[in-house]
Subunit: 197 residues, 2 copies
């Protein structure tokens, strides 16, 4: 497994299929991470994303203060980590990240906390939209850099079919219950044809 | 199989796991349907959704003119229908819906076209946000009514585990290639506990 850069024109493919993501941010010496099921691609080139960050979430405060965040894609083996991150608060539990078993790392040139072991990472610059943020808790980010683990995403495509099942992305249904992503519904078409390619 | 109303406080669960949706709308005697992979829950109660509707899409014009749309959730057996809808335009092909094999039906009290055979349907009232629509092609809807086919969604929950595989939701990856949703990653927790329940 090697972490490789993702062509920004294809970064939307990391999120097209609707996985639950982890949002992490850093400000003033504080790192935090939260799961977010309500995330979507907004645009392809330049790649933009939307994510709903509840007004009670401390990670949101860090995003607003630092104007950057990481949107990363956890996988099946992170199930308990993701659940723990979603059910605890840094306010009440200062060692929340350690207790959840989260290990962070930095990418050179970016002062942001990335979560180890994810399938992919997108570093996003907040596009300030105060009305959306205040009224809807809706945040827009432009993807400035992206990487993926070549165990499951390489050459601009997901490769769930030949990866270990622990690399399947998580899709939240409700109450800490997740579905894994399934198999390709084959269609005999090139992945580089058609809409959304 | 019976189409049953979905409690609006649980309508977000139809979309939490990130399926590709079909957006349909009606105005001035014209119906149209388009696939949209870039859709997300925005809020729970009242349930709101976001969806990106490209400026070239005729369905978008119908949504803007009528201020309503249907967000419905197609499943594996719709693969070719969804692809056909995404690769043809009503401008060029007036019988696009017939050719794609789409059958529409009405719900009493709602002057909107619903696509037969989907897993679920949400009737949405457009919340006008001209800046988002113009700048980002981003549309916000409030869910006014929702139904699901009890073959796969009942009692406020998805039941993929005991439904035929043809009921698996579609998750677009790129270029008309879709993944089906997979199985529950079991966690031994009640679906009514925890965040996002």
């Amino acid at each position: 497994m090697t972490i490789l850069p993702v062509d920004l024109a294809k970064a939307h493919r990391l999120l097209n299929h609707g996985p639950t993501v982890l949002i992490s941010a850093r400000h003033g010496g504080t790192d935090n991470v939260m799961p977010a099921a309500w995330a979507s691609v907004l645009d392809m080139d330049p790649a933009k994303v939307t994510v709903v960050l509840d007004s009670g979430a401390q990670t949101r405060d860090l995003v607003e203060a630092s104007t950057h965040f990481v949107m990363q894609i956890p996988v099946a083996r992170h199930l308990k980590v993701v659940d723990a991150l979603g059910t605890t608060s840094l306010h009440d539990m200062p060692d929340k990240l350690d207790r959840a078993g989260v290990k962070l790392f930095d990418m050179p040139g970016h002062d942001l906390p990335l979560v180890e072991g994810c399938a992919a990472w997108m570093i996003c610059r907040l596009i300030p939209e105060p009305h959306n943020q205040t009224t809807y808790d809706l945040f827009i980010g432009e993807v400035e850099a992206a990487w993926a683990d070549d165990s499951v995403f390489r050459d601009g495509r997901w490769h769930f079919e030949d990866a270990d099942p622990e690399w399947r992305t998580l899709h939240h249904v409700s109450g800490g219950r997740y579905l894994g992503i399934g198999d390709i519904l084959d269609f005999n078409r090139s992945p580089d044809e058609g809409p959304g390619a």
